[in-house]
Structures are given as structure tokens and as C-alpha cells.
Symmetry: C2
């Protein structure tokens, strides 16, 4: 019930009695840059971030930014990688033994719910930039396709889907991913009080989709 991944590490609690090595300091400022960027991104698109404010938020002077990234776009790519790790963690966590449909559905929705609430910034960034255009959207698109591909492979292990063509499996996986993305956006837009209703609807949608599976003919 608590295998969420939290990457927030803004400040170490203890003073650096250990004088902290040089490269560790560097890594720390790099992470501070990523963290403040993600924080600022809570309510605006990436393209409106300025190098200067990210640097200021991380506590360094603007020009020092270049010691870590060649440009804001490069930071954006790093951000995609970081948030993508969360996504993969979620997938790993949701992978379950071929059980009943209903069990799989509610477990998956619960996992999504839990990861979204534990890493709101990451998912906000991902869903916001997914359709935002530019290189970030493309990078996220690639990642989501990989994700969907993995899901297709997982689905192939279920008995009723053994006979499906890989094309149809991908179609189903994409459908499920798009339902999940919709759910994620709904969660991010709502107050946590409405979580139960949203996850309930999500489960219904997935049930309806999977209800068609036994009657599918590829035509």
C-alpha cells in the first residue's frame, strides 16, 4: 500500500559535516535546478520558464546554469527522463499475476492513483507537455509508446488475448493508456476529495473496454 516513489529532496536535513565532494556538490545543484523547474511548472507550460528564474530558484547566478545544461531545452529533456522513471516505476508496480480482470483493473487503477498523488509534479509535467508541441512532446510521445508496447506484451499473457494479433493488442494497449491518461488528468484537476469518484469512473471505463474483449473479431 506504500511503494510510491518520491524524488523530492530539496535540502538535506543534516549539515554537510562530511565536506561533500566536488562532484556531489555539482549533482546537488543540478538536482536543485530540476526541482525548482518542476516546481515552477506546476501551473504553466515549460516554454514559459526562463533560464534566469530557474537559476534563481536553485540559488545560483544565471550564467552558472550553463555549467549544468547547455540550454533550457536540455534541462527539459532531463526532466522528461526523470519523470519517465516515475512512470516506469508505476508500470513495474502495477505488473501483477494474470488474475481476474476485475482484480487487475482495480489494482491498476489503485496503483495509478497512488503514484499520481505521490508525484503530482511529475505527472502534471508529463500530461501538460505531452501535447505541448516541440521536442519535449516528441520525447514524451516516444516514452509513452514504449510504455504502451510493454503493456501490450503484458496483455498477451492473458488467456482471452492469446489469439489476438499484435496489431490488435497494440490497439487495446493504446486504448487502455489513453483511458489512464484521461484519469490522471482528472485526478490532477480535482481536489483529492473527489478521488474516489474518479477512480470509480476509471474502473468502469476499463471494465467496459474489457467487456468487449471476448466478443472481439478483428474484421
Amino acid at each position: 500500500m506504500s511503494n510510491a516513489v518520491d524524488t523530492r529532496t530539496l535540502e538535506p536535513v543534516s549539515e554537510p559535516l562530511t565536506p561533500v565532494s566536488r562532484q556531489e556538490r555539482k549533482l546537488r545543484t543540478r538536482q536543485a535546478l530540476l526541482d525548482t523547474a518542476l516546481e515552477l511548472l506546476a501551473d504553466r507550460p515549460f516554454a514559459t520558464l526562463s533560464l534566469r528564474e530557474v537559476a534563481k530558484g536553485a540559488g545560483i547566478v544565471p550564467t552558472a546554469f550553463y555549467r549544468h545544461f547547455a540550454s533550457m531545452e536540455e534541462l527539459g529533456v532531463a526532466l522528461v527522463e526523470e519523470t519517465t522513471r516515475t512512470l516506469r516505476g508505476m508500470m513495474r508496480s502495477a505488473r501483477t499475476d494474470p488474475d481476474t480482470y476485475q482484480g487487475m483493473i482495480s489494482a491498476s487503477v489503485a496503483t495509478v492513483h497512488q503514484f499520481v498523488r505521490a508525484n503530482e509534479d511529475h505527472f502534471r509535467f508529463l500530461t501538460r507537455e505531452r501535447y505541448g508541441g516541440g521536442p519535449l512532446a516528441r520525447a514524451i510521445g516516444v516514452e509513452l509508446r514504449l510504455f504502451s508496447g510493454d503493456l501490450a506484451i503484458d496483455l498477451a499473457r492473458f488467456a482471452p488475448l492469446r489469439s489476438w494479433s499484435t496489431e490488435d493488442l497494440h490497439m487495446l494497449a493504446d486504448l487502455i493508456v489513453s483511458v489512464m491518461l484521461t484519469t490522471i488528468v482528472e485526478l490532477l484537476e480535482a481536489r483529492p476529495a473527489d478521488d474516489a469518484k474518479i477512480t470509480g469512473t476509471a474502473e468502469k471505463r476499463l471494465r467496459l473496454v474489457l467487456l468487449g474483449v471476448p466478443h472481439w473479431k478483428s474484421a
Copy 2:
């Protein structure tokens, strides 16, 4: 096969022999502002547009912009209204007599395809800003919910859906809308050569969803 809506009217072909009234000139510059904005938005989010470049594109000086909109945000809202008209036109065009599922599915997908290709800028703007945050995303969200509500009412007329609760009807409508949105994004990201494949997949997804309908129990 050609009831698409094209709002592009950058320049009138004929010289204004009719001296054009004052308010008509004003409307024309206003439209020029909206048109250039939409054009610039083809490959970047709205938040990165500057008042100055929109004004320049419309052929007026920056300060004259304020004769038409109090701020860029107000122009954005007007843009949402404009693109939303296209969306409603699409819905009107897709409304069809309760026929076979398959007929309804392919007709709807064809309508979406046709409208997207005829108004790429509008749909690009809508899908880009839908998740972009800020007041525009909220305005678009409201509009999409209306759209989904209308669809739910239409769905209620189909025999197999007569007995469904309104809640479940909304769930189904949302599901269909999200499939359609996914399809729209795919169309906008792909070259027109791949249109057939994309619409084919879209039809499959809808077929699968509707296949579950007869077996649905709200549970």
C-alpha cells in the same frame, strides 16, 4: 462529403470598391489578429505568443492591439470560442439517425477526420491548450464537457442504451470523447498519408468499446 468549415479569410480577393464601413474594417483587423495568432500557434503553445508579434502579423502597431482586446488572454478566450464553433459544427455534422453501430462508427470517424484535415489549426490549438493549464485550459475543459454531455443525450436514443443510468451514459460519452481526442492528436502528428491507418485504428477502438455495451452491468 464536403461540409467542412473553413474560417480562414486572411485577405479579401477584391479591392474594397465598396468603401467598407468603419465597424467592418474593425472586424476585419480583429479577425486578422485571430488568424495570425492561430497561425503562429501551429508549433508553439499560446503562452509563448507575444502581443507584439501578433500585432505585427496582423499589420498593425502594438498599441493598436488594445482597440480589440484588453490583453492576450482575452484574445485567447476569443480563440477558444472560434475553435469551439468548429467543434460544434463537427458534432452537428456527425449527428445521424440511429442506424447500425458500424455505420455510426465509421461515419463519425470519417466526420472527425474530415473536420480535422479541413481545420488543422483549430484542432491543433484545442488539443495543445487543453492540458496547457491556465484559464484557456479551463475554458476548453468546460466546452468539452458540454460536448460530452450532448453526446450522452444522443447516445441515450440508441436502443441498447435506453436502460442505462445517466451516470453510465456520461461515462461512455467521456470514453468516446477521449478516444476521439486521441485520434485527433494522432492525425495532427502524422502525415496525411497515414490517415487511413489512423482512422482504421480509431474505428477498431470504438468498435471494441461498443462491443461491451450489450453486456454491461453497472455493478
